[in-house]
């Protein structure tokens, strides 16, 4: 097509994409694959899963900043749900709330003036905030029963464990990307 003839009626709309857009798309695709693969793992309780896609979000946050991480995270939830077939189901609402709260907390971490965090700390906070957001949505929107609150400590403990696991993976991933692990040199 010839971009010098924009007045032609049949000419398609040309969307200009930036380098950033491409990067977000690639990283989101990576996160979506993990998200979908993880959906195949049986879960003992709704809302409990390893959250390995979080590795991508946190790595992207550390490498490319909050804005890219927010795009990658929200695109993952949206496209992941379309692929799995859970778009607009209660599970999707929980996922979306968890991701949104988690992304908001990443924003707060960026603004935090105190001692810096390694991927371990970032993953931990991101995992706990994801669970907190998801649980709040589940409690307020779907099952507002006091019995639900009994589950909260257990869910948060699992979130901490999985946060630590994904923190270790993220640390090793970033260190190896930067060639700073001895056996990768």
């Amino acid at each position: 097509m010839n971009p010098t003839e924009p007045s032609e009626a049949s000419s398609p709309i040309i969307v200009m994409t930036t380098r950033d857009d491409h990067r977000i798309a690639w990283l989101a695709a990576l996160a979506i694959v993990i998200h979908v693969a993880e959906a195949a793992i049986p879960s003992p309780m709704p809302g409990v899963k390893p959250g390995l896609a979080n590795v991508i979000t946190v790595a992207v946050f550390i490498e490319f900043g909050w804005r890219t991480a927010a795009w990658v995270s929200l695109l993952r939830v949206l496209v992941g749900s379309l692929v799995i077939g859970s778009f607009l189901t209660p599970g999707f609402a929980l996922s979306l709330t968890g991701a949104a709260v988690s992304v908001a907390v990443l924003g707060l971490i960026r603004l935090w003036p105190g001692p810096s965090l390694s991927p371990l700390g970032v993953c931990m906070l991101s995992s706990l905030s994801h669970m907190a957001g998801q649980f709040s949505a589940a409690y307020l929107l779907f099952i507002p029963h006091p019995g639900m609150l009994t589950l909260l400590p257990v869910l948060m403990t699992l979130a901490a464990v999985f946060g630590l696991v994904s923190g270790v993976i993220t640390s090793l991933l970033l260190a190896s990307l930067h060639g700073r692990v001895a056996n990768s040199e």
């Binding site: 931990m124 006091p146 001895a182």
Partner: protein
């Protein structure tokens, strides 16, 4: 924030926590302990209760964590209420329709059963009196 400032030479080096990480870990432990204390210590303690209103015996609030049987006197005779496993129900009533008995076990906050002829009602009390669940 960026990992690039720290020279990693080994896996252990890559996983060395920063002071910020240690603060996060401590806060996490405090949060989890707090959650367990707050949401688990109350089990069986203040738990859920039920309010029994009777025209002849007045209002009484009973805990649902102690199994017991109550006999309340009404205009028609004695109604028997059973509390078991955190639930409550009418098991005997002198009325005709026995709607109160057919209401069965009540356990979620806001659940209600009444024997109008014998002027006795039971309401389960709890922190949250909304609907107990929504199904899709």
């Amino acid at each position: 924030m960026t990992a690039s400032a720290i020279p990693y030479r080994s896996i252990a080096g890559a996983l060395r926590p920063t002071p910020g990480d240690i603060a996060v870990a401590l806060l996490t432990v405090v949060l989890l302990v707090g959650l367990y204390l707050h949401f688990w210590s109350g089990v069986g303690g203040e738990g859920e209760r039920a309010r029994i209103v009777s025209a002849d015996n007045g209002v009484q609030i009973v805990p649902l964590n102690e199994d017991r049987t109550l006999t309340l006197h009404g205009p028609l005779g004695d109604s028997v209420i059973e509390i078991h496993d955190g639930r409550i129900r009418f098991i005997e009533s002198p009325c005709q329709g026995k709607q109160c008995i057919h209401a069965g076990w009540l356990h979620s906050a806001g659940s209600f059963a009444a024997c109008l002829p014998n002027r006795i009602s039971i309401t389960v009390l709890g922190r949250n009196r909304h609907f107990d669940s929504i199904n899709y």
